[in-house]
Subunit: 140 residues, 2 copies
Amino acid sequence: MHDALQKFQTFLKAHSHSCTKVREQIFLAMLDQEPLTMRELVKKLGDKVDRASVYRTVHLLESLGVIERLAQGWKYKLELSDEFSEHHHHITCLNCGKVVPIEEVEEIENLIIQLAKSQGFHSFSHQLEIRGTCSACSMI
Amino acid sequence: MHDALQKFQTFLKAHSHSCTKVREQIFLAMLDQEPLTMRELVKKLGDKVDRASVYRTVHLLESLGVIERLAQGWKYKLELSDEFSEHHHHITCLNCGKVVPIEEVEEIENLIIQLAKSQGFHSFSHQLEIRGTCSACSMI
DNA sequence: ATATTTGCAAAGGCTTTGCAACCCC
DNA sequence: GGGGTTGCAAAGCCTTTGCAAATAT
């Protein structure tokens, strides 16, 4: 079976939350996916899960750090956090909307942490959004 | 008079857009301010400017690069872009909501541009959001 | 068995749009 | 004067909420 799914189930129990079908379905819908908008996620789950439950579950999983929200210009997209997937920065093509995940770059991570520290902040997380044009769209 | 306002007026004309009272008022409401939410901006303009006009103007100014949207967790905030104000990255305190602007750090800027290039992207802009706790809130 | 979670339907917000009146050039 | 802007009111989305039925432990 899915290693990731089991990890998720264990995680939920460890945090005193029930392990329900709805939550599993939402988790699976997001596993190994490009970041999704709420609209896409709701649509993908079709009539399997009610819209309100998707919102409620996303809130819950976000508060537990399983899901993260990415700024995408006006809107946002959702993806599983580091612990359940990979990479965490993105480049968005302003022309075609393509989103490319980027591996963590330790050099940047460290600078960011130092930057926060220099302001007296203790940083928990950060998010980097880069906007530009992808190679295909740059040629137009 | 306001240097910045004149610059703004000139900018609008240079881009073939009318220089109206509504646009000036919105610009002034954002000048030298902490980043504002749409709600705050609308409220600040009170009955001087209609809500719909605020939205329309923000769209326009955003497309011209005068205004930028910052991701702030769930929501977003608005601020004037580099050309009309200063600084462009922020640290948000997850506890008290305080937002601290950070000077550009050339080292990070360069790494980000290189990063985009390595993916075949031509980057126009980027946004860095750091979340953590400020010094005051860390002590609690 | 019981506390939690879900679907449904309705309400609440935020954002956009059509159109007539108004303003800038 | 005429095209671009604005206010108003209404429509469209997105998100949240109350509650009874269903589900997990």
